[in-house]
Symmetry: C2
Subunit: 264 residues, 2 copies
C-alpha cells in the first residue's frame, strides 16, 4: 500500500471511507423515459436515450421505461409500479412519449392497439396527474407521436409479408397529427412543456426517409432530433448538465498525494 504523505491512510474495503462523499454520491438524480417502442429502442445505435445518458454523464441516470406496442390505456397499468407514490427519490424529470399506437386505425391490422382520441388525452392526463402526485417538483415533459410515412409503412409491410401485406395503411400521418394536437392541448391546459415532434420533423424536406426507418420508428438522424429537443426542453427548465453537480469529485480535483481531501 502506498503512503499518502501527511494524510491519513487510504480507505479499506472493510471500513467506510474516512471522508464520506456525502449523500450526493449515493442518489444520483434520475431522468425516466416512459413510452412505447420509440422509447424502448432509444438505446439502439444512435438512440436518443443513450445520447441523453451521455449528455447527463456523471450528473443524472437515464432510466428507460419503454414498452413496445403499448398505448396509453395499457400504460396506466404500469404507472403505480414504475412511479410508486411515496417514493423518497422520485425522478427529477420524466418524458411521456405515447400516441403512435393509440393512433392506429380502427378496422385495420393494428386496431388492437387503437385508443379513441378523447380517451388518449384523458389517459395522458391521468399519467401526468399521477406523476404530479409522486412529486411536486418533477419536470414532466410530454412528447407527441412522431409523423407517419405511409409509403414507408407499406414498403416495410411488403418486406415482411410480400403480397400478403395489408393493402390499407394501419396508421396515417393525418391521424398521428390529430393525436399530436390533443397532446399539445393537454400540455397547455396542464402548464407543462411539450415537444411537438410530429411538426418538428416535418419541417425538414425528406423527413420520411431521413428520420423514419420503417415509416414509424426512428433512424439515427430521427433520434438526433428527439435528443436535441429533449435536451433543449430540459435545459429550458434549468436542468443544465454543466451546472449540475458531479456525483463524485472530478479526477483533476484529486490531489495524488492526499486523495481523501477531495472526498471530504
Amino acid at each position: 500500500m502506498a503512503t499518502f504523505g501527511s494524510c491519513s491512510a487510504a480507505p479499506s474495503a472493510g471500513h467506510p471511507p474516512i471522508c464520506p462523499a456525502g449523500a450526493a454520491g449515493m442518489v444520483r438524480p434520475r431522468l425516466v423515459l416512459f413510452g412505447d417502442s420509440i422509447t424502448e429502442q432509444s438505446f439502439r445505435p444512435g438512440g436518443w436515450g443513450a445520447a441523453l445518458a451521455d449528455t447527463y454523464s456523471r450528473k443524472a441516470d437515464v432510466v428507460v421505461r419503454g414498452y413496445s406496442g403499448y398505448n396509453t390505456r395499457w400504460a396506466l397499468f404500469l404507472i403505480h409500479h414504475i412511479f410508486p407514490l411515496g417514493d423518497l427519490a422520485p425522478p427529477l424529470a420524466t418524458t411521456i412519449f405515447f400516441g403512435a399506437n393509440d393512433a392506429a386505425l380502427l378496422g385495420r391490422t393494428s386496431e388492437r392497439q387503437h385508443v379513441p382520441i378523447s380517451e388518449y388525452k384523458e389517459n395522458l392526463k391521468k399519467i401526468v396527474n399521477h406523476l404530479k402526485d409522486c412529486s411536486k417538483s418533477m419536470l414532466i415533459v410530454l412528447i407527441t407521436p412522431p409523423p407517419v410515412d405511409e409509403e414507408g409503412r407499406e414498403r416495410f409491410a411488403r418486406s415482411l409479408y410480400g403480397e400478403d401485406a395489408r393493402k390499407l395503411p394501419e396508421r396515417t400521418n393525418e391521424m398521428a397529427g390529430v393525436y399530436a394536437g390533443q397532446c399539445i392541448e393537454l400540455a397547455r391546459e396542464m402548464h407543462i412543456p411539450c415537444i411537438n415532434i410530429w411538426s418538428k420533423m416535418q419541417e425538414t424536406d425528406g423527413w420520411q426517409k431521413l428520420y423514419l426507418s420503417d415509416g414509424l420508428h426512428l433512424t439515427p438522424e430521427g433520434n438526433a432530433v428527439v435528443h436535441k429537443e429533449v435536451v433543449q426542453t430540459l435545459r429550458a427548465a434549468g436542468l443544465k448538465p454543466e451546472i449540475m453537480p458531479y456525483d463524485f469529485p472530478h479526477h483533476s480535483n484529486i490531489d495524488g498525494s492526499c486523495p481523501e481531501k477531495a472526498f471530504q
Copy 2:
C-alpha cells in the same frame, strides 16, 4: 373511456391498478458498470454500455458508474456509496474495469494517477470482497485494462499540445500488460470471471487504430469488442436475456378487449 367487454374497468391513475403487475415490475435487476473513463464514455455513439442496455432491454437496467481518470486507489473511496452494504436490491452483476490509469508511468506526465502494481491488485481485491459482502449471488466480472498504442498516444498529445507535447510516453502497452496480468491472476485466485481485453484486442491486426481512438480510449469497433465479451461472460454465467423475464407483459400477450388479464 372505452369499455372492456366483460372485463372490469381500466385502472385509473387515482387508484392502484386492479391487477397489479407484481414486484417483478417494480424492481428491474441492475447491471452496474464500475470503472474509469472507458466505462464513463460507454454511452457515447457506439458505446459498449449503451449496447449492453439494448441487449438487456426490458430485462435489466444498465447503470453506469464510470469515473474518468480514476484509479483503483480513488475508486475505494466510492465503493461504500455506490454499493452500500445492506442494499435490499444489490446489483445482479457488476463489471470492474480499472487499471488504465493505475498503469500510468512514474516520472511521466500522468504519474499522479499511478498506483503500484501490488497495490492495484490489492485494491481490486478489496473492491471484489466488498461486492461479495454486498451480495453473495452478485456476478462480479473483472476486465483488464485495454492495450495501449504508444504512437496513438503521441499523435493525440501532439494534436493537443503541438511541440510542447511530452516526448516520453505516459503509458506503455508493456506496462498495461503487466497490470492486465495481475487482474487475471486475481480473478483466478478469487474464482470470478475475467475478460482479458488487453490480449483479446491484440489478436486482431491493426488493433491500434481499429480499436483505439487516441491510443487508449475505444473506437466504436473497440466498444463492440468489449460489448461482445461482456455479453458472452454474462451469458456463460446464466444471464441470458432471452430467458430473463420481461418486467411487464409483452404487448402481443395483451388482449385488446380485456387488457387487465395480462397484468394479473
